[in-house]
Amino acid sequence: MAVVVKKVELTWVDRTYVIPVLQGMAITMKHFLKQILTRSRKRFTVQYPEWKREVAPGYRGLHELKRFEDGSIKCVACFMCAEACPARCITIEADAFGDLNKTQGFEEKRPAVFRIDMLRCIYCGMCEEACPKDAIWLRGDYEQASYDRLSMQFGKWDLMNTYADKDGKARITQDPTPSIPRNPTSL
């Protein structure tokens, strides 16, 4: 449907143009002075590479594969996320979890390969929703760029260490060997 634009009746003051233009200049000058007098931290524009925006808690950014306190991965390679993923960008290869450890009493599987093609991911969060173990989360990182396609393939260790230092967790590149044998009473 066509929009009817109402014609504004101009008063004679508006028709002279001079006074409205002066009013407009006052407005732009106000903005100018306001910008000049505001400290640059407080300005509307975020000076991006130096200052980053805080994203909302529910933001869906880069994935993290969660781990237990002892470092072992929470993911049980159930393929739910891979199935739910509309972009089909998750590749999982399962591996038998031989040496069971303290926290992880029941699991028999873990991913040997867990790869997300970040170039295809649409950050929909479906994997997060689908995961029965809360093992995959989408968190705040929104700066993802690289010079080649290969480095946008995030593997298991990339995803486990995504927020490692920031959250005060150590970086790991190996599945931890169990220190205490499985406690049968916990079953």
Partner: protein
Amino acid sequence: MEFLARLLHLQPQTFWMIAKVIIVFAGPLTLAALLTWVERRGSAMIQDRIGPNRALLFGRWRLLGLPQLAADGIKFFLKEDLVTADANKALFWLAPFLAFVPAMMGFAVIPFGRSLVQGGQTYHMSLLEPGNGMGMLYPLAIGSVAVYGILTAAWSSNNKWSILGGMRASAQMVSYELAMSLAVVAIFLRTGGYDPHEIIAHQAVLWNVIPQFFGFLVFFVCMFAETNRLPFDFAEGESEIVAGFHTEYGSMKFALLQLSEYVHIVTAAALIVTLYFGGWQVPFVAAPSVTLSIAAFVLKLVFFCWVFIWIRWTVPRFRFDQLMFMGWKVMLPLSLGNLMVQAFLMYRRG
């Protein structure tokens, strides 16, 4: 001055002439280069943005984005210089100079300070001495010549959008030139002469902007048309004619076209200051010293340059028919009426 002249083994007059040529050409050019920065930062501030500040000097100093000027300069020189296959090559190369040179030349007649008397010799602070017979007619004539640069640029690129832009520029020029000249003629009537030195001397008590307010209004608006600045920059137009007359231009040639616009602003501001705001006169100071008079002139000049930028970021571009309407049906009668009233007052006074 005599000391400097002796240092270079020159007659003081010769030395002063050379110095004036350098001042008159380098001054507006520097100011124009700075204006490109002021425009970008100023527009950013007006629009609640930050503006260019990424270029660093030696990777360290930001200086509020001023290194951007150097970066732009280097970029303009190093860019590939494209000339489209069907362009008229000679004219295509000539056009930026046709736009740039008249813009530079207009400033020659403007007195930028009080005349200096030293060693029994009067040094005038303008490139063309008073009583040269051209007076204020010269910058007006030169200013209109600048449109040839735009027309040539438009025509030689052999691009229909460019030609539309050039056509609009020339039509605009025609509709504004008359009103502008008539406004200036009223000033000539008031002064009884058309030499800028006389005009400025005549404004010692009262600046022309008060008795000649309508004339000032007309002249000021026409200056926007003359400089091709935003409310009336019909030679350009991103939304309707791609970019206008400089669509096909790149690298240094584009820079020249762009820079000539800024030099035009400086000249236009100088004209406004000279004709309506007392030139180098300082309010409430009967006989300012030479330094003070130059400072006053430069201050006024910079202020009006800023007004040009300020207005550009306030008022959107007019429609073409609105411009024609304004030019012929508002500006011309207003200017003519102003002239008649002025003439009548002079007749009454006898």
